[in-house]
Symmetry: C2
Subunit: 177 residues, 2 copies
């Protein structure tokens, strides 16, 4: 019998995230027994979803966070990725995560952070309609599918894809990343 260790998942968040792209994967990951830690620009900051249905408090500042502490990274979409990527500390954290080979879960506008981190070259990825050209210009192969798994990178397009996004993310975690 193999007893899988539970994963500690960083959720990177700033104001105007797409509410359900944070809450639904987070609920499913917790339900599966994993731990979540909200990381952001400032510990203690209360961030709000763009639909104003959810607020969350940042638990660890990116300044004080290390990729070594975590087993996986969830990047919810909305306008949170655009706000985060204006800050080098967020871009560096995401780049180190991708480079570490640990699972990264990207949905909707999340590839914007991956583009600024310059980690999409020759990767297969999907994302929100409005950023298709940016994804292609970053050297990635854009795939119009509800979920795309390329190595440690799981990506989906929009809130409608959340169920399969969660399914493939959990599968990667179960495989030990």
């Amino acid at each position: 019998m193999v007893v899988m260790g539970l994963a500690k998942i960083a959720v990177i968040l700033e104001d105007w995230f797409e509410d359900v792209e944070c809450t639904e994967p987070a609920a499913a990951f917790k339900e599966a027994g994993h731990d979540l830690v909200l990381v952001g620009l400032q510990a203690g900051k209360v961030v709000s979803g763009k639909r104003h249905t959810v607020q969350a408090t940042i638990e660890r500042s990116l300044e004080m966070a290390s990729v070594d502490e975590f087993d996986a990274l969830l990047i919810p979409g909305g306008y949170s990725p655009d706000r985060l990527r204006a800050h080098d500390v967020a871009v560096r954290f995401v780049k180190e995560f991708i480079d570490s080979g640990k699972p990264v879960f990207s949905i909707c506008h999340a590839p914007q952070l991956l583009i600024t981190a310059d980690v999409l070259r020759d990767r297969k990825v999907t994302g929100y309609t409005s950023i298709i050209q940016d994804i292609k210009n970053a050297g990635a192969e854009f795939i119009d599918a509800e979920v795309v798994v390329d190595g440690n990178l799981v990506s989906s397009r929009n809130p409608g894809d959340i169920p399969v996004f969660i399914r493939e993310s959990l599968r990667l975690l179960d495989e030990g990343g």
Copy 2:
């Protein structure tokens, strides 16, 4: 004596535009005697700034608008350009405008629309911090300056640049575009 004709300027707008990047250039253009027409996805739709300080009613749908009717285009920033570029009709309108050689005024996130329209290759342009990598990946030369004028394209970075953005936009209009 040369009597300059007044310009008819299209302002392309969707929800969550950066309030002052619409209101301040619009006020200055009107003050200089130019006419403004708000174009968007649907005539009659009321769109709101992301700061909730201003609402505006779309006067002409992009479906019914032609570049021939206008002398210049203003693209306010915020998240309006991201929302617009998910729609082909908006991307086509912006592309035709750039291709026409008529003045296009781009501020903050506005280059997102220009990127999806694929009209930035080999152009000198500036824009908001978060989209610098997207601008470079689109083949443009990113310049970190409060205003950049390259042919018919005037661009600025953020609300702090509005005064020089207005000055250079008016200068191009006065030169007859």
